[in-house]
Symmetry: C2
Subunit: 250 residues, 2 copies
């Protein structure tokens, strides 16, 4: 096993970062890696926004409800972006396009999300810690306003990168037989009794970890969150549509 | 710059793979890396299907219309999967859930797509070549039937991995100032005249590359594809809904 794979198998989300900022050289390198990620049909349908303004950081922190967001480290927002390509089309004389349809929506989201993980891998190769922030979608409409995102763009994920100030335990993942199948989808069912050993492992993980200890299992965590929708997240479909995505009109 | 980042900056999609199959050990390692990818709220809302059946490979190749798909190398399909978590809920006595809403749809897609890129990075660290296959969505409904995907699952991306049988040139990416902004979205406009140098670089790339030479620029490629929707891709929104995603009912 090579060093990169050893590190990938040991991936932990790092929420506590030291006060040491990333150098401009490191930020440039991370963005450069992101740029070189595979992209669907060479559309390069994503952009990155670096958040450096303290007031903006505070506003995003408030949206995420996570105290570490924008506190230390460097905060990137990865944006699905068909606006750039629509603008190219318009300037070249064709304002009619299908860039907001579901197909392109998925492609733009894919471009952005693949770039997030590529950036994570680059950061970790330099000994940096990362936390991917789905929590920016707690209020997507407000974030769109804050970042002045035009139509045909959408903030997909945040990514905070910095120097680790914690060494959390490795969080145990679902055993392979529950998530990797041959040729057809074949979940072992009933699944809950078969997850007993894994539940025990997750229970031990929560019980023994150094911070935020609690009593929980995997199945219980899934059960508790079956209907968990933070209020504004009900508006996500509407916000996506307002940005011009998932639009089959053209 | 470390070796991993050097390799990431030199990423090329590898469509031509030798006949040498991946060992079971390598396949297991790749899946193990995918399992350890960051996951939204520890939901682990994705699964992987390895395609080993020759007839199934041929059927997927036909959907993608790409002769190299399933020809050599190992073919993975990454699946957004909220079915597993819905099943856990149902077995524990709660059939009512929000796992198909837009918020969870985005989260499940993110989990699957982040895992794809993590797998790509692992494969490339072993000297393997990869091609990410958005083309599986040319006929999502048929693929769902072939893979026997239940409701609340959706095939997001394919990934073919194997031993490289080509060394393509590096495809030049958009300069950073067109895709990385500070604090707010600020695309330099009008963009087409400012892309003149990049268009020239892309033109040279297509002109000089060893295979599939053509005369093209970036802006022209975007322009030509503004309204390019393969027929069945018009049905993607409907197929997503039929699978129970983007559903705000609960």
């Amino acid at each position: 096993m090579n060093a990169e794979i050893a590190r990938q198998l040991n991936h932990r989300t790092i929420r506590a970062l030291t006060a040491q900022p990333l150098s401009q050289e490191i930020i440039d390198t991370l963005v450069n890696v992101a740029r070189h990620t595979a992209t669907s049909q060479f559309q390069q349908a994503f952009s990155i926004i670096s958040i450096t303004d303290p007031e903006l950081k505070a506003a995003i922190r408030k949206i995420t409800k996570q105290s570490y967001v924008g506190a230390t480290g460097h905060l990137f927002i990865f944006v699905a972006d068909e606006y750039r390509n629509a603008t190219i089309g318009q300037e070249m004389g064709n304002a009619h396009h299908s860039l907001g349809n579901t197909d392109r929506t998925i492609a733009a989201f894919s471009d952005a999300i693949l770039a997030v993980q590529n950036t994570v891998n680059a950061a970790e190769s330099m000994g940096l810690g990362t936390v991917i922030l789905g929590s920016i979608l707690n209020d997507a409409a407000q974030l769109i306003e804050l970042l002045q995102l035009p139509k045909l763009t959408f903030p997909v994920l945040g990514l905070e990168v910095g120097y680790p100030d914690q060494e959390p335990q490795l969080k145990p993942r679902l055993p392979e037989n529950f998530m990797h199948f041959q040729n057809t989808y074949q979940l072992p069912e009933p699944i809950v009794p078969q997850l007993k050993d894994y539940d025990e492992i997750v229970h031990n993980y929560y019980d023994l970890r150094e911070t935020n200890q609690r009593v929980d299992t995997f199945t219980n965590q899934i059960y508790q969150r079956l209907n968990n929708v933070p209020e504004k997240r009900h508006e996500l479909l509407q916000t996506l549509r307002q940005q011009g995505f998932l639009n089959e009109a053209n």
